[in-house]
Symmetry: C2
Subunit: 191 residues, 2 copies
DNA sequence: TCAAAAGTGTGATCCGCGTCACACTTTTTC
DNA sequence: GAAAAAGTGTGACGCGGATCACACTTTTGA
């Protein structure tokens, strides 16, 4: 729970009393590699704050192809937010790629925290603001950049993920085939 | 200003007194077709709530090609948020496509409103939540759908924009060339 | 520890879509 | 209301990247 407090205080300082109020809304959970947090069709009860480990969230099309919406490591929040906020069934999958620990928060908890503690509403707004800007940047990148450029942008933005995540998933994130991505950087030095 | 109050109260009810506090943070502005609200390199002082009219926001690459990040009509908020929040220079352009009226809010105003009035922080969080989910859906669409499907999805999501916006801009939004988009729906009936 | 699973590189082929080009229509603008 | 600007359809052509196929390497897990 120390990590949670630190995570919140990166945005707003809170008192011991306030943190005592916040704590019980979160539940701790260990997750093993390959384990699913969410599958298409599930009821999405929780969003997750990742304390350690790595996850991928992806959309699965009718042919069984994966399209990665997001990777998430330490201090990232993740959920099928469409389903979570609107209380619909999940359309995305979330899978653990590296043994992990997470904190779970349900929608009622999020809304109660926001309503009761102005600071927490501020915290969530700040997180959303960053997330919104990041998604917008990704859209621009998908529209305007070549696969080559997108790969480089990804490397600059997430150098640590670049190392520990298999290239095939990075390809799925960038919207290129595995093979094309492979050719991109094998040609890079020579040209 | 009536519209503003109604817009806010779609999310949270507020008292007359509260609205009197909110009002002065907004300034009214008329905008004519072809007029820019923001250009690449500008300092982004304001975000805009659109009362009437239509805008497009786009990224312009080094070859002069446009990539549309967002359209916005009545009751939409719009700004180069990356620049606005981080107080950097704009990388996007915002152009009026149909004579418009907007309300302008600067970052200081947004933050003051959020800090002083919990309800307003809640309002902004609610807006961001919706925006976040919408952007995520668009990313999935860009990754997983064919141009054909994306065109249909766009039509379902924004039927009114579909009518009043020239197809060439819709193509730029979908990430296809104008010509390809044109061929998509000329072939649609026959196959 | 060793078999199975997952990840990766690379050749061959194919096709969707971008690009260029041009004619035609519609809308703007003064 | 005429000239200019903007939007649109469609043909020809070529390329970037998807797909399929296979060999090889690395990681995983009973």
């Amino acid at each position: 729970m120390d990590k949670l407090r630190k995570h919140i205080e990166d945005v707003v300082p809170i008192s011991d009393g306030e943190f005592d109020f916040v704590k019980p809304f979160f539940t701790y959970k260990r997750v093993k590699k390959h384990q699913y947090l969410t599958q298409e069709g599930d009821t999405v009860t929780f969003e997750y704050l990742i304390l350690s480990g790595v996850f991928r969230m992806f959309y699965l099309d009718s042919e069984g192809k994966e399209y990665i919406v997001q990777f998430a490591g330490e201090n990232w929040w993740m959920a099928d937010y469409q389903a979570y906020f609107k209380e619909k069934k999940a359309t995305l999958h979330i899978v653990c790629m590296e043994d992990a620990e997470v904190l779970c928060l349900n929608l009622h908890g999020r809304e109660t925290l926001s309503a009761e503690l102005h600071k927490m509403e501020h915290f969530f707004r700040a997180k959303l603001t960053n997330g919104y800007v990041a998604l917008q940047r990704r859209i621009i990148s998908l529209l305007a950049s070549t696969p080559q450029q997108r790969y480089e942008e990804f490397g600059q933005l997430y150098p640590h993920l670049m190392q520990k995540i298999p290239k095939k998933y990075i390809a799925e994130y960038l919207g290129v085939s595995r093979e094309t991505l492979s050719r991109l950087y094998s040609n890079r030095v020579t040209q």
